[in-house]
């Protein structure tokens, strides 16, 4: 096992567990193959673990922890990259940073990761014309019963 981190060699990873991030993460094109791991069934936080580099993994979450009515617009290029078909489910994940002594939690709402769950293809999308930032603080109250938190994915035509 490499120093610390998740021991990816000991995991029983099957092909359909792997999420292929097309083009890799932004600025890290070599990081393409990931698996989504969970802390516990009900946790809104997940762990996205690189299979290309065991030292690389990070926390991702549902966008509703950071924003109500978060809207992700997918342009034609991203739609093609994700090979979106009629019955495909799209999952939107926000990269989470936990900073400093205060353990301040922020989410990158400007560059979410969108995954075609059925085809296991993902892409880190840049919401170029949005007002979202890479450091949106955690909402004060997390009320999971609130339906207004729904994340919208818009398909640009």
């Amino acid at each position: 096992m490499s120093e610390g981190f998740v021991d990816i060699n000991s995991l029983e990873v099957s092909e359909k567990d792997i999420i292929n991030i097309k083009g890799g993460l932004i600025g890290m094109p070599e990081l393409k193959r990931f698996i989504l791991m969970e802390f516990d069934e009900d946790s809104p936080l997940h762990w996205l673990q690189s299979l290309d580099d065991s030292r690389i993994g990070f926390v991702v979450s549902d966008p509703s922890l950071f924003s109500d009515n978060y809207t992700v617009t997918l342009d034609k290029r991203v739609q093609e990259v994700l090979e979106i078909g009629k019955d495909d489910d799209l999952v939107v994940m926000v990269v989470v940073t936990v900073k400093g002594e205060a353990q301040e939690i922020t989410g990158n709402l400007l560059g979410p990761i969108v995954v075609n769950a059925k085809k296991r293809i993902g892409c880190q999308v840049v919401l170029e014309d949005s007002e979202y930032s890479t450091e949106v603080p955690l909402k004060k109250m997390v009320d999971t019963s609130e339906k207004a938190q729904k994340t919208m994915v818009e398909i640009m035509v």
């Binding site: 359909k16 989504l36 791991m37 762990w47 993994g57 990269v95 296991r120 840049v126």
Partner: protein, 81 residues
């Protein structure tokens, strides 16, 4: 750096399949149209840099906790599969 002078509606071709068109010029703002294959992503530089910085920060920071977290983690299986 290669420097080319272009007028409105004139284009620059990069390699064989990337085409940049000058769409309009208004004082100090230039509007460009970019056509590129789907595996080429195009971003405003400052937005791109900000996301790279944020990705690095999330990873570096998470690395410190990875070992502790790893024992609580298991593979998430998509329900639809």
């Amino acid at each position: 750096m290669l420097v080319l002078t272009r007028k409105i509606n004139e284009k620059i071709v990069i390699s064989t399949d990337i085409v940049v068109t000058v769409l309009s010029i208004d004082r100090d703002q230039v509007k460009l149209g970019i056509e590129a294959p789907k595996d080429i992503s195009v971003h405003r530089e400052e937005v791109f840099e900000e996301i790279v910085r944020s990705n690095r920060e999330a990873i570096l920071d998470a690395g410190k906790r990875g070992e502790i977290l790893s024992k609580y983690l298991r593979i998430h299986r998509h329900k639809g599969n």
